[in-house]
Amino acid sequence: MVLNELGKKITSALRRMTNSTVIDEQALDDMLKEVSRALLEADVNVRIVAQLRTNVKKRVNLEELAAGVNKRKLIQKAVFEELCEMLDPGNKPVALKKGKPNVVMFVGLQGNGKTTSCAKYAYYHQRKGWKTCLVCADTFRAGAFDQLKQNATKAKIPFYGSYTETDPVKIALEGVERFKADNYELIIVDTSGRHKQESALFEEMQQMADTIQPADIVFVMDSSIGQAAYDQALAFKQAVKVGSVIITKLDGHAKGGGALSAVSATESPIVFIGTGEHMDDLEAFNSVSFVQRLLGMGDVSGLVTS
């Protein structure tokens, strides 16, 4: 995965510092500069990078270190913990309950992969034995219903939508109620793309969430997004109760740092990543093991607990 490239750069910056003979202010600065550059190249938000740099420096405060303390270890630990902090949403993924109707609503910016991810998510759960279905509540985008319908048909998943109804909230409610009556366990609702600058679109999303009362709201984000990621993600989080994140298009070459920055904005874990256009190109994601892999450190746990 491309995200690993970021990990390699950070580890090599840490290693280089380990190799330099004296660890003074200069060595620490050089290392932090290198780490920052790797993060910025990966599109991590500039403010978050600056913060990380200050925090590490503060924690390591070289002057005050007593002689004999292992500076290298301490610095590595500080960098690692700050990165974990950045990637730690502070919340667990929403648990869905089998045997009950779980409504899951997908939201996100235009073209980020909501409709495709909805279908993949449905397919993934269907194969795990869930009774799943799809509702198309995007009445705006040309061809949106056909797109969902064709995907659903391919994966043999029941779907609901309309070519004529123009009120997305109405369709969402109708679809959800119909499938609830039929005892579906996972009712996945696809919505139109939207962005924070259009308040009417955000109000529509809030209204839909209020009406269908989803168990989880999944925020879908494209891995190639740059510095605008954080603000957009934050706006979605502030508007509705985002509980999970899916990062898409990781089969490309983007390093995904913009989307990673979004984790701290949404305070929600990344639950899946999209790795292609096909139905089974969806991988479950575990943030903790990701950070460990990101840093390519077998000895990570040692660093954190020591």
């Binding site: 073209g111 992969g113 797109q147 190639s224 997004i225 603000d231 070459h253």
Partner: protein
């Protein structure tokens, strides 16, 4: 630090030491505005080289001298070298060669190719051109129906052969159909593809070499971060390597979409123009047919330095 910003003339000429912190600061500003990290670096480096050794004019701080030089450099970069107007060229081809003018849009997934193509159709119609749309995304679910909807709204003919067909062949047939019914322009939509997906990039090169379009527009979104550079250089490289003709056709211009979603983080424009040397032909500022604009260089430069 302040002494750097506030340093007045009469002192020495601008030295590397004076410049370094100021350049770093501007680099961070550009990255914060979503300019790709290595491009921001190259731009400030060359600006630094251009002012180093110069004497400060009276009452000018280092910062404002650098800002001025950067303003000039960005303006030079973003000012199109040739006209971005296509109408005259369309008329020339129609009159002299007695055939439709062919425009292909390409780019990665979900950036707004099909929507921009529909907007371009509307723009051309407003200027009295007769248009045919060719549905050459024969892969993505709903792609054909999406264009059917647009074609119906815009009252133009859509040429399509459904899904699964070879895009190059569909395009060829579409141009033949366009010639037959006497349109001025054929707009060719293509499937989104990741820039390192070799089979798909080869297919795009084939479509281009078979059809020899008059314009190839790369559609990129203003949201994209550092990946912008790789997207454009890889699309161009694939067009160069895979066409297998003496004079391969390359990207002629950029359509920058979702400009309404990024506030003042307009840096993707810099990354894209810097990478290709090609101009931004249109920006997309929303989801309706009216939301296609020309962008002025000064608007971009002012947003970058704000």
């Amino acid at each position: 630090m302040l002494s750097f910003w506030k340093r007045l003339t009469g002192q020495s000429s601008l030295s590397k030491e004076d410049l370094e912190p100021v350049l770093q600061q501007f680099k961070t500003t550009l990255i914060g505005k979503n300019v790709a990290q290595n491009i921001a670096e190259k731009i400030v480096q060359s600006v630094g080289a251009s002012v180093e050794g110069k004497r400060l004019e009276s009452m000018k701080s280092v910062k404002s001298a650098v800002r001025e030089a950067l303003h000039d450099a960005l303006t030079r970069l973003l000012t199109p070298k040739q006209s971005t107007e296509v109408l005259a060229d369309i008329e020339k081809v129609n009159a002299i060669e007695r055939r439709p003018f062919v425009i292909v849009v390409c780019g990665v997934n979900g950036v707004g190719k099909s929507t921009s193509l529909a907007k371009t159709c509307f723009y051309l119609q407003k200027h009295g051109k007769k248009v045919l749309i060719a549905a050459c995304d024969t892969f993505r679910a709903g792609a054909v129906e999406q264009l059917k909807t647009h074609a119906a709204c815009l009252n133009v003919e859509l040429y399509h052969q459904g899904y699964g067909k070879d895009a190059a062949t569909v395009a060829k047939e579409a141009v033949r159909r366009g010639t037959e019914i006497g349109v001025d322009v054929v707009l060719v939509d293509t499937a989104g593809r990741m820039q390192h997906n070799e089979p798909l990039m080869r297919a795009l090169a084939k479509l281009v070499s078979v059809n020899q379009p008059d314009r190839i527009f790369f559609v990129g979104e203003a949201l994209v971060g550092n990946d912008a550079v790789d997207q454009l250089s890889s699309f161009n490289k694939a067009l160069m390597d895979f066409q297998k003709v003496p004079n391969p056709r390359l990207i002629d211009g950029i359509i920058l979409t979702k400009f309404d979603t990024i506030d003042d983080k307009v840096g993707a424009a810099v990354s894209m123009v810097y990478t290709t040397g090609q101009p931004i032909v249109f920006v997309g500022v929303g989801q309706t047919y009216y939301d296609l604009r020309k962008v002025s260089t000064s608007v971009l430069v002012n947003a970058l330095l704000r």
